[in-house]
């Protein structure tokens, strides 16, 4: 039922786009580039937060959307239920 699937299935292209943006930001930096803004941000944010609570490396996503006039930076951090206790 094609029509039904159109509404029910999550779209995969946005995920592809997001994964590529993060990955390429890392790889461009590793290749000697200067544009590893996202990678650096991610590392520093991770470091700052892990001072105060235990978080999972994989659960932090930093995303930059570049627009013509405005760029937005979205930081998404999943904090585990018992994170505060461990660090404190």
């Amino acid at each position: 039922m094609n029509l039904f699937r159109l509404f029910s299935r999550p779209r995969s292209a946005p995920a592809a786009r997001e994964r590529l943006q993060v990955l390429l930001a890392h790889e461009r930096a590793a290749a000697g580039g200067d544009a590893d803004l996202l990678g650096k941000l991610r590392d520093e944010i991770l470091r700052a937060i892990s001072k105060h609570m235990q978080i999972d490396d994989d659960k932090v996503s930093v995303r930059m959307e570049r627009g013509a006039q405005v760029s937005t930076l979205a930081v998404d951090i999943e904090v585990p239920f018992d994170a505060g206790k461990k660090a404190a």
Binding site: A13, P14, A16, R19, L20, Q21, R28, G33
Partner: protein, 271 residues
């Protein structure tokens, strides 16, 4: 002096050879003198795609080793008078491609043709860097798919560092050719959109080749798609691409876009 174009990609199987043949034929169909050079030593395929597999006597490696003259190795296309092919070697060791040898061959071809199109092997090894080394223009062939986009990014990095132009401090002219694009799937959100790929790779768009049966059909019969079926959607897209390559400013549209029932109401143009 002709212009040297490298058709490159990083990832294999994205349509470098198909595109080299189609772009070469399209340029030649317009009257330009074109040679398409297969750099994929060991795994040649351009001869097959162009329908000249049974006419190969000498190849690129023979010329570089001095065993044949360039004129002996060049194969003239039977359909288009101004289209030539320089095949790659099938059996020889890749290391026979020397930097000096390639430089000499490209130099000689440049002097005699309007366009020298180098079909690069996949990867980032010696063969690929030799194919791009002397290029004036690079066409980066990419599928709307994560692994292809990633490898294209890598290749763009190489184009900006490992080519003669880069070493001389000049900027390499780079273009994106997006192949196997399916507007319906992109619209549905299950394929990277043109804009997504352009934003990620940030090089100008030369053309969008739609996913089409005509491409496979053309390679089955050993004919560049621009010759096999001139009116087909991929052929029209390649013809548009060469007009842009020659400097014409024409808007990029998705050729042969088929819209479903919902697409008609909710769809948006992909380019």
């Amino acid at each position: 002096m002709g212009k040297v174009i490298v058709v490159t990609s990083g990832k294999g199987g994205v349509g470098k050879t198909t595109s080299s043949a189609a772009l070469g034929a399209a340029l030649a169909q317009g009257g330009d003198k074109v040679v398409v050079v297969d750099f994929d030593v060991g795994l040649r395929n351009l001869d097959l795609v162009m329908g000249a597999e049974r006419r190969v006597v000498y190849d690129l490696v023979n010329v570089i080793q001095g065993e044949a003259k360039l004129t002996q190795a060049l194969i003239r296309d039977k359909r288009v008078e101004t289209l030539y092919l320089l095949p790659a070697s099938q059996t020889r060791d890749k290391d026979n491609l020397t930097a000096e040898g390639v430089a000499a061959v490209i130099g000689a071809l440049k002097a005699n043709f309007d366009w020298v199109i180098c079909d690069s092997p996949a990867g980032i090894e010696r063969g690929a860097t030799l194919a791009m080394r002397h290029a004036d223009i690079a066409i980066v062939v990419t599928n709307p798919e994560v692994s292809s986009v990633r490898d294209s990014d890598r290749i763009i990095g190489l184009l900006d560092s490992k080519t003669l132009k880069a070493e001389n401090g000049e900027r390499m002219e780079k273009h994106l050719l997006l192949t196997r694009y399916d507007p319906l799937r992109a619209e549905r959100g299950d394929m990277l959109k043109v804009d997504d790929v352009l934003e990620i790779l940030s090089i100008p768009l030369l053309g969008i080749i739609p996913e089409s049966m005509d491409v496979l059909r053309a390679s089955n019969i050993g004919s560049p798609v621009t010759l096999a079926d001139q009116g087909s959607a991929p052929a029209l897209a390649y013809f548009d691409a060469i007009r842009r390559l020659k400097g014409e400013q024409i808007p990029v549209t998705v050729p042969g876009e088929k819209r479903g029932f919902f697409g008609k109401f909710f769809g948006r143009k992909a380019a």
